[in-house]
Symmetry: C2
Subunit: 196 residues, 2 copies
């Protein structure tokens, strides 16, 4: 069975989203790539609401098996880091509410996984994406390409969603049971909802 | 009409919640104070889900007119700041989804508003809370007291919720219209739901 990953490059002005299906071995198929935007002049509540609605729509449309989110560090780019962290928390919550396992990868893990080189630049990453996914051009804007790279990192690094925790390491059996219970509850809710 | 403020001291291990009603002038009544906890050994998705459920329950139980959240800075306490920022984003989103205006205050604004001194310590803040709210002891744990202080700051600083934006400044007329439209939509949803 194919594994579908939704990658998220969290951002308050442009939040990148990339959806990949595994296609055996190291091959993958691009399902969707784009960005959710918010208006920088708006208040923070309106902005987080706009981003959350776009993320929710993408999760519901693509029904990923795992959501992979770029890990944000507080020392990077401090003028925007708080908004980025807020969006990453919302992306993780939206997945968790649906019982979808999440994983996080640092920027250097993404670079190393995709290009083999932890300090690769965006152009090198995009070249790999074009070649590997059989594209005519890299996904645009750059945040969408970054999200696809995060999804690819998850496909290549992860043995499977229920065995991955938030640090990309092995889930404990308790975490696995929690994820399974969440999924069962979600299915029960969905089947009970469908009666109406 | 009395104004109800729900203050949030965002945190991933203990998220403080304090609810105050204005009682005329600078007087206020304590409605509730406590913390929502998550288990530090759990994965980040389970933790954010636990905190969001507690925050959602508090917002739905107390139906505040405004939600005031402590503003997080990336330079403070970097080991926990990302989790704190994620929780603050979720608190803002939960309010925004319900059309409830939000406001943010920095720690020094809270100290200055409550004690008149921007570098006051926690004990000085708690002494004011006990005296002003007619309590026998300060709210426990400290995160709950901090959340009450944030709510009090909002009561004392803010002229009214719809005139406050996320920075504590004046809303633009567009933001005010947006907030009013959200409230109208919320009321419409609530009244349509109540038919079933």
């Amino acid at each position: 069975m194919s594994l579908r990953v939704l990658g998220v490059d969290p951002g308050l002005t442009r939040c990148g989203i990339g959806v990949l299906d595994s296609a055996g071995g190291r091959r993958a198929t691009l399902v969707a790539a784009g960005v959710v935007r918010s208006v920088s002049e708006d208040a923070i509540d309106a902005r987080l609401l706009a981003i959350s609605r776009g993320l929710r729509a993408a999760i519901e449309e693509h029904a990923p098996d795992v959501v992979a989110v770029e890990r944000v560090f507080s020392q990077n780019n401090t003028s925007t880091v708080m908004g980025t962290a807020q969006v990453s928390g919302i992306a993780i919550l939206l997945a968790a509410e649906r019982g979808i396992p999440i994983a996080m990868h640092t920027p250097s893990e993404v670079k190393a996984a995709v290009t083999g080189y932890g300090r690769a630049d965006k152009k090198q990453i995009q070249t790999v994406l074009v070649k590997l996914l059989g594209l005519e051009a890299p996904p645009k804007p750059a945040d969408a390409a970054d999200a696809v790279a995060i999804a690819l990192t998850q496909l290549w690094r992860g043995p499977g969603p229920v065995r991955l925790d938030s640090t990309g390491g092995a889930r404990t059996s308790a975490q696995t049971r929690w994820a399974e219970a969440e999924r069962a509850a979600r299915r029960a809710r969905e089947s009970s909802t469908s009666r109406f």
